[in-house]
Amino acid sequence: MRTFRLSDAEFAALAAGRPTAATLGELRKAQLSRHLLLLREIGTVPAWYAGPDARHRLADPMTALHTAATLVARRAGSAPPPEHNSSARILTATHLGRTLRVRLEDTDPLRARLGLDPADPLDDAAAAAWQHHLEGAWRLLVERHRAAAETVAAVLSVIVPVHPDPGAGGISATSADAYGAVALSAPADATSLAVGLLHETQHSILNAVRVLFDLVRPSTELGYSPWRADPRPPFGILHGAYAYLAVTRFWRGEAARSASGETARSGDELASDDLGMGGHSQLAAFEFARWRAAVVEAADGLLASAVLTAAGRRFAGALRDEVLGWLDEPVPPVIGRLAAGANTEHRVRWRLENLTVEPATVATLVAAWRSGAAPPAVPAAAVRPATGRALERSDRLRLVHDLLRSERDQSLPPGSGVRPGTDAQLGENHRTGASAYLKNADARYLQGDHDGALAGYLAGLEEFPAEIALWAGVALTSPYRMVRERPELVRAVWRTLGVELRTVANWWQ
C-alpha cells in the first residue's frame, strides 16, 4: 500500500508557509485516510457512510471530530458523543474569481471541542455580520495576499463562532481532530478576520503534517513561547511559530504596501475603514517587526534543543530560514524600538511569572555579593508547572497600539508625543497602586525618554516590588542586561539584599 511522501523541496516549502496545491492535496488525502482508519477502528459503519454525500462527510472536519470522539469514548467505556446537528448557515465570498465557502457552525454539539466556549446559535444579524466581515477579509486576502488566500480556500471549511475573551482583542483555536475547522470570536473588522483565518489555517496545516511526520520527540519539557503567557510544550511552540509565520508575512505585505505609498485602485478599491485598518501603516510595520523576531526566536530555541526529530529539524529550519531574510528589512526606527520592546516585555513577564529560583541559588548569589565576589554562574531557574492557557496582557502594549493607531493625529506622532489615557481607559496594571508610576513612566517610554521612564519604574518598584509591569519597564529602559535576560534572578537577589536595584543590577554588568 502507498504511504505518503513529500519531496524535500515540497516539505521545505510547506514548512516555509508556502505549500503547493499538490502538497495541500496530500494533506487532504491524509486526513481522509485518518478518518477512514478511525472509522475502521470503531468497527460500526455510521449511517451517513451509506449516503450519497459520504465522501463529503468524510472530509468534513466536524464529522471527523465526531468520529474521533466516538472512538475515544468507546475505548474509555463512556457514552458516545451526541449526534450531529450541523448548521445550515453557509458563508460564501467571491472576489476576482476566487471563492471561499465555509459553514458557520453554530449548532453542532461537539463544537466546544475546538477548545473555546462556543457562542450560542446566531441570529440572522450576527450571521450577516460574519458574512460582511468574511467578504472584506476575502477581498483583502485575494487582492493583496493571493497565495495565502489560495491556502485558506484549500483548507478552511468550517468556522465555529465562540464567545470573546474580555481581556483579548480576539481569540481563536483549532483541534487536531478537525482539520479545516477554526473556532473564532466575532471579528472586529475584516483585517482581524483575515489575520485570524491565516493564523488558524496554519494550525490546521501543522496538525495535518503531524499526522504524516513526527516532528517532535516525546517530552515533558515546557518552555517559552513568544505568544503565550504560560509555559508551552515544544510542539505548542512550533505551532505558534508556524501560525505567526503567516501572520508575519501578512503584515510584511501590508507594511510594504504602506511604505511604497501604494493606494487602492478604483473599482477594486479596498476602503481602509471597511477593513478596520484606518490607514494604520505604522501598526502594520509594528506587527511585522515584532513577529518576525519572535518567529526566529522560537525557531532558534527549538533548533537549539534536542526535542526535534530529523523531520522536525528540517521543518523548523526551513521555517526559520523563511523569516530570517525579513529581519534586515527596514522599518521606521521608532517602530523597531517599540516592537523590540514588546518582545522584551513579553519575555521578561513570562520569566517573572513562570520561573522559580531555587533558594540555594539565591543563597549562593547573596553570599557572593556579601563577600564582594563577582556573580557566580548559577543553574537555570525551574519552569513552574503549566496552569492552563494564558494570553498576553499588557497595558503598555495597549498604549503602544493606541499610539500607532493615532498616526493620523498630527499632534501625536510616534516618538514625539503621546496621550497616556485616562485611568478608565487603562487596564488592570494601571489601576493598581502602581498606576501613577506606570502612567507617567510609560508615557516617557513611548516618547523615547528612557532615562526618565527608568527613574519612574525604579521609584515605583521601591513601593511596589512585586509589580511585574514595573519590572518589565526597567527591562525596557535600563542598561541592565540581567534584568532583560534573567529578571527572576535579579528580583530574587534584590528582595533578599534589600539594597538599591540599580546596585544589584550593576553587579552583573
Binding site: M1, T3, L36, L37, R40, E41, A243, A310
Partner: protein, 62 residues
C-alpha cells in the same frame, strides 16, 4: 537529513502513514493483514490516547 531518496534521485520524506483515501471501509478491512496499515492505525491510536490540547491563542492587535 532526509530519510530516503526517491527513485529519481531526489531526496524526500517518507511518512509511515498509509494512503487509503481512495478506498472504501470494506476495502480497507480486506487489507487487515497489511503491516503498513497496521502501523498507521497504531500511530493514530497512540495520538488519540494522548491527545494534545486544542491549539488556542491569537490576540489580535486590531
Amino acid at each position: 537529513m532526509v530519510d530516503r531518496t526517491a527513485d529519481d534521485g531526489t531526496p524526500e520524506w517518507q511518512s509511515p502513514m498509509v494512503d487509503v483515501s481512495g478506498l472504501s471501509l470494506a476495502e480497507i478491512a480486506a487489507q487487515a493483514g497489511d503491516s503498513v496499515l497496521a502501523e498507521s492505525i497504531r500511530r493514530l491510536a497512540a495520538d488519540l490516547a494522548e491527545p494534545g490540547e486544542p491549539i488556542a491563542g491569537f490576540n489580535s492587535a486590531l
